[in-house]
């Protein structure tokens, strides 16, 4: 199993653990991830305006490079994943966008959305299989773990097609397979405050507070996430519970963390 891998800028700086543990786990599971050469920032956030072309170009570059390589682009940062999947969908389904992007980038072969964008969790669920992972767990994580999805992984479900947007199960199944007990919080698909943390920390504190609150109320002693921004908000703007990346627990369970 060989795939192109797009880490994204946060994974190179503030979220190094997310990246390092992902690579270690992938290796242990026999997944070959090739980092895309010379990738650029995906744009950080997807803008929904149809006439915003320039902010989506770098994502198209990454997608088009992956097409010419393995055809599948694996991401793990929820932000990058959201941007890449949605831009890919635009290229595929919005002629207005497609024409302008290709006119601008002038690639040798026009990019038409051929690349498959896959989140590492989707890879674990659909291609490796949680049963298979369970067999390789040497270090079960016996904790009560609250999965936190946030908004970027799930919505809009018509494009992301990641999981049921209102009743997702992939992280719960993941927690089970590494030996933990999933704690379902009703706030797991609500927004943590996202980028407003820069302009209005009190807003992010309020939203994150509600999320952590419900995790505490439901008896969790750990929160897992796939998003560096969520991790930051939940820890920095609240901090009552430890928040780790799911790849950290995976690496720990597989015994490859150190």
């Amino acid at each position: 199993m060989k795939y192109d891998y797009y880490p994204g800028c946060t994974l190179k700086t503030k979220a190094k653990e997310l990246d390092r543990c992902l690579r270690a786990s992938a290796e242990a599971l026999g997944i070959q991830l090739e980092e895309l050469p010379e990738w650029q920032c995906c744009g950080g956030v997807y803008t929904t305006a149809r006439d915003e072309i320039a902010t989506k170009l770098s994502a198209v570059r990454a997608l088009s490079a992956a097409r010419d390589s393995t055809g599948t682009l694996v991401t793990v940062c929820a932000g990058c994943h959201n941007v890449l999947k949605r831009v890919n969908d635009d290229v595929k389904n919005d002629d207005y966008f497609n024409q302008r992007v290709n006119n601008y980038l002038l690639p040798e072969k026009p990019y038409l959305g051929e690349t498959r964008v896959v989140h590492f969790l989707e890879l674990l669920r659909d291609e490796v299989g949680f049963d298979e992972i369970k067999k390789r767990v040497v270090n079960p994580i016996g904790k009560k773990i609250a999965p936190y999805y946030g908004c970027l992984l799930l919505r809009p479900s018509s494009v992301m097609a990641f999981d049921d947007p209102e009743n997702p199960t992939v992280l719960e199944k993941f927690v089970e397979c590494i030996g933990g007990t999933p704690v379902v919080s009703p706030m797991r698909n609500e927004c943590c405050g996202a980028y407003t943390t820069v302009s209005d920390p009190s807003a992010a504190a309020e939203y994150s507070g509600k999320i952590v609150d419900s995790c505490v109320k439901n008896g969790a002693n750990l929160i897992i996430t796939a998003c560096p921004l969520c991790q930051y908000n939940l820890v920095k703007r609240d901090g009552r519970l430890p928040v780790v990346y799911f790849t950290e627990l995976l690496a720990e369970a597989l015994g490859v963390k150190e």
Binding site: A15, T48, R50, L154, P228
Partner: protein, 129 residues
């Protein structure tokens, strides 16, 4: 008057949202996590654009409280996509002279050591043109 019509058309194009489909159920507003920080709420965005009363929207800070979390888009039974409309309003404001809400020079004052890059990039993308 003409300006308002033109801007309304522009908002419709940018967002792709069909405001006339709205039946005013308020499901978007019920789903909005940023409700308390908004002067105008998602269903009002839709109604005000539909009825051409956008001057108040453009003058309000409400669009900048939206988290683009897409809960409203996900749940809207009429496929109106309020979040796209709100983003269009925000961009319409930012594209005006002096419309930026976050200047690159301000960034060092608001960040801390742990803040992930994507937060800064995203905030600049959302609040600055």
């Amino acid at each position: 008057m003409n300006d308002i019509k033109k801007t309304t058309e522009q908002l419709a194009f940018m967002s792709g949202a069909v405001t006339s489909r709205c039946m005013g159920c308020g499901k978007c507003t019920a789903s909005c996590p940023a409700f308390d920080r908004m002067e105008y709420h998602p269903h009002q965005f839709v109604y005000m654009v539909e009825t051409g009363r956008i001057d108040k929207l453009l003058a309000s800070k409400s669009a900048f409280s939206c988290l683009t979390c897409f809960a409203c888009v996900e749940r809207c039974p009429r496929m109106v996509e309020p979040a796209r409309l709100i983003e269009a309003v925000r961009l319409a404001v930012e594209r005006q002279q002096g419309g930026n809400r976050l200047l690159p020079d301000d960034v060092p004052c608001v960040i801390d050591d742990d803040m992930p890059q994507q937060a800064v990039v995203a905030a600049l993308r959302k609040f600055t043109k």
